[in-house]
Point group: C2
Chain length 208, copies 2
């Protein structure tokens, strides 16, 4: 807790402020019109400083979007609450904090993502995949604890969470609320997990 130990944190705050500025510019002008000049002016930084840290526009934008998109609890240990419901709640609350900004950010880059293969890959590797790994790890822990049957298709069940979030954004043009994602967990994900504990799934048609 001496001054030296604090220094990286301050640098991190500065980086974070720069990336917030990138997001502002991104939402205002869109991916295509965003330039290092515009960002440098906005955040009062030298262009050379920006280039040193983020060599390309794609790097800069993906770093900025990562800030919004990555769960605040992006430490896998912190997400290990002891139950699947608890773990998913922790992941979902992470989503809720970014709900307001995310749709406009996504709107600003989605066209470029579809057009630009490199940006698309960076987006997948640096934003989509890390989140997915936290999610699948929560399901693996649940399976080890016996909350999910040993033969369950974890990837299929886990995919419900991002799939429903993605559809909500695509259909309604707004990220899902915490409330909505909680319903997804309670009404769909947890029942699907519970069903894997029975040897034979009782079809809905026989349940009535």
């Amino acid at each position: 807790m001496n001054d030296t130990a604090l220094r990286p944190r301050i640098a991190g705050d500065r980086e974070s402020a720069v990336l917030d500025g990138v997001l502002d510019v991104l939402v205002e002008v869109g991916y295509d019109k965003l330039t290092f000049d515009l960002v440098a002016a906005r955040v009062r930084a030298g262009k050379a400083t920006l280039y040193r840290r983020w060599p390309t526009k794609a790097d800069l934008v993906i770093a900025a979007v990562s800030q919004v998109k990555v769960c605040p609890n992006n430490d896998a240990d912190a997400l290990d609450t002891g139950t699947l419901r608890g773990d998913l709640e922790a992941l979902i609350c992470g989503d809720a904090e970014v709900t307001e900004l995310l749709p406009s950010v996504m709107a600003a880059i989605v066209v470029a993502i579809h057009r630009d293969e490199e940006l698309k890959q960076s987006f997948h590797e640096q934003i989509v995949r890390p989140r997915y790994e936290l999610l699948i790890a929560a399901f693996e822990r649940a399976q080890q604890r016996g909350e999910i049957g040993p033969d369950a298709d974890l990837e299929l069940i886990a995919a419900v969470v991002p799939a429903m979030a993605m559809r909500h954004s695509a259909e309604l043009g707004a990220g899902p609320t915490t409330e909505y994602m909680r319903e997804v967990v309670e009404q769909i994900v947890l029942p699907a997990c519970a069903a894997t504990l029975h040897e034979h799934h009782e079809p809905a048609t026989k349940g009535g």
Copy 2:
């Protein structure tokens, strides 16, 4: 069954052939570069004939995409098999037939959809919504038969089907197979429906 009665059917086949040609051009050159000239040359039709039927490029393309996207069993009565599993199977098999073509078609228009508000709306109204209505109707019938509890959130559960299909396409760049969608129904949708028949959902955490 006289000649006059047959005429509209033949006209429909010709229309269908024209729209197939639109899809070919679309996949080859993308939405932006598709023109009435290109289509007219491909299908050996007069531009005026095309314009009369489809006044704008968006109309023409949406009509063509509707051909691929709308379920072959797009008659709600034909989809009423007496069980939710049967109804969903009928809807899913409809998807499978278009699996091969759909991803390349979507790739050709997705950028334009995000950029062009009118195209986006047409896409939603003429392609997304009709399918969704068939789907939600199947869930409503299931609820009336008692396969789904009276308090269930049908829209939430029904959304799992398009959500998982959409995510599969977005993540893997290929439409979902019938096999995949069948797993979605068996492992996720039907268990979620079955759970609505119990007054209190037994959380997965207490099931082990």
